[in-house]
């Protein structure tokens, strides 16, 4: 079955998504910068969308010493290196149903780069449509990018804020696998344990594994109606109240953050990027199984 157009899926903010067709038609557009962000380190060098640059989540987006994100200077240096200006129309795509693309998109928002979109379906859809790939790494002219200071408050929730939110009966969504949510597993199926001492979930958190928002055959996002059925009808997540999403280290939950904030238009959604690797190690915080 062909994928429905983004416009026909009735998202609240369809402007944050673009299609493989649009990207294919804009490969030569100098105001567009296509960025690939993957989990699999071999994918970009093995072939990528012509003209695309790579942004690696571990090297480019994370502080290399502390557990935190890059600062303003780091973001400016990254954007300069990949030839982006504040006016550049950034399109991000990647493997794993755009999991890492949404993560990069989320980090870009910390610095106010709002001219960013995610390519619906990501790398899987592009390849399934037999669109061109190249191994040529583009040579880009460095730009002079000036970013604002990183603003965490609208996008990130920290542990004390999560605890206060929990005590106030606030809405939480746990996007990990059901086994992680129940505490039967301390890590994702097929992934190594990254060191949480306790299993379970934050009390009251709703369990909605992140990939439920995706059509698995081509990695595209489900329609707004289908997403509302999951998050509103089934899980009763009230759009008029704040939602905090979390997972293991805040990457899968950036995908759900993207879905709730932009595709469904929840006005106040934050990502608890400390997530289970922090909460499952904290002394004395409440945990439910």
């Amino acid at each position: 079955m062909p994928t429905m157009t983004v416009e026909s899926r009735h998202y609240t903010h369809p402007e944050v998504l673009t299609s493989t067709e649009w990207v294919a038609a804009n490969l030569q557009n100098p105001s567009v910068r296509v960025i690939e962000s993957n989990e699999d380190a071999l994918l970009y060098p093995s072939g990528h969308i012509p003209g695309a640059v790579q942004v690696d989540w571990t090297v480019d987006l994370n502080d290399q010493l502390r557990r935190d994100y890059i600062d303003r200077r780091g973001f400016e240096a990254l954007m300069s290196r990949i030839g982006v200006t504040p006016d550049t129309d950034v399109v991000i795509y990647g493997d794993k149903n755009n999991w890492w693309a949404c993560y990069a998109f989320w980090v870009f928002q910390l610095f106010g780069h709002t001219k960013a979109r995610v390519m619906d379906g990501g790398r899987l859809k592009w390849q399934k449509e037999s669109r061109p790939l190249t191994r040529d790494v583009p040579t880009l002219q460095a730009t002079a990018y000036k970013a604002r200071e990183r603003q965490d408050a609208p996008y990130r929730a920290f542990r004390d804020e999560v605890l206060a939110h929990l005590k106030a009966g606030g809405q939480l969504v746990d996007v990990r696998s059901p086994e992680e949510y129940s505490g039967a597993r301390m890590h994702m199926p097929d992934y190594p344990n990254e060191g949480a001492l306790r299993g379970g979930h934050i009390p009251g958190a709703k369990s909605v594994p992140w990939a439920r928002a995706i059509n698995p055959e081509d990695g595209s996002f489900k329609t707004a109606g289908e997403l509302r059925q999951i998050y509103l009808d089934e899980q009763k997540l009230d759009p008029s109240k704040e939602v905090i999403a979390y997972c293991r280290i805040g990457e899968r939950s950036s995908h759900t953050w993207f879905v709730l904030k932009y595709l469904l238009g929840y006005p106040k959604v934050r990502n608890y990027d400390g997530s289970w690797c922090e909460w499952g190690n904290l002394v004395g915080v409440p945990i439910e199984k």
Partner: protein, 143 residues
């Protein structure tokens, strides 16, 4: 760890490349050499009996016993983004085909970490180790 000479040579070559980008390039070269299971051995839809558990690239493995008592390995990787699985399949084919089942059955899944090192992604390790385990199981069945 028991490793047959052809596989040991591949491992040594990879270990000579401390730069992750150089190793990535060599792994991509292996992926480029990937040859899918011939139609004389299997055709689509592939039997679930040959599907490799835990491999997100939807990979399959076969081991054909030759007249001289050695095995020839074959693989299929159905995911278009299964580059790591294709690289490992080629390495296992080049490094283990032509060996006797009892030799192949001794190869440790830990070779995955010697092959990929920093180039392994978080979710790939266990799936790729599953490829080695599947080959070991096929070898044991042929013994």
């Amino acid at each position: 760890m028991t490793v047959p000479k052809p596989l040991a040579e591949i491992l040594e070559t990879l270990e000579l490349l401390p730069d992750p980008s150089d190793r990535a390039q060599l792994l991509i070269d292996f992926a480029d050499q990937f040859r899918e299971v011939p139609a004389t051995v299997a055709t689509r839809p592939f039997s679930v009996d040959h599907q490799i558990p835990q491999c997100e690239s939807d990979a399959y493995a076969w081991a054909i016993l030759q007249a001289d008592g050695t095995l020839t390995l074959h693989f299929a990787v159905e995911s278009p983004v299964g580059i790591s699985a294709k690289a490992l399949a080629t390495i296992l084919d080049q490094g283990l085909s032509g060996q006797r089942p009892e030799v192949i059955a001794q190869v440790s899944p830990d070779i995955v970490f010697r092959i990929f090192r920093q180039n392994i992604s978080m979710g790939k390790g266990i799936g790729l180790m599953g490829m080695v385990q599947a080959v070991r199981a096929l070898a044991k069945r042929a013994m």
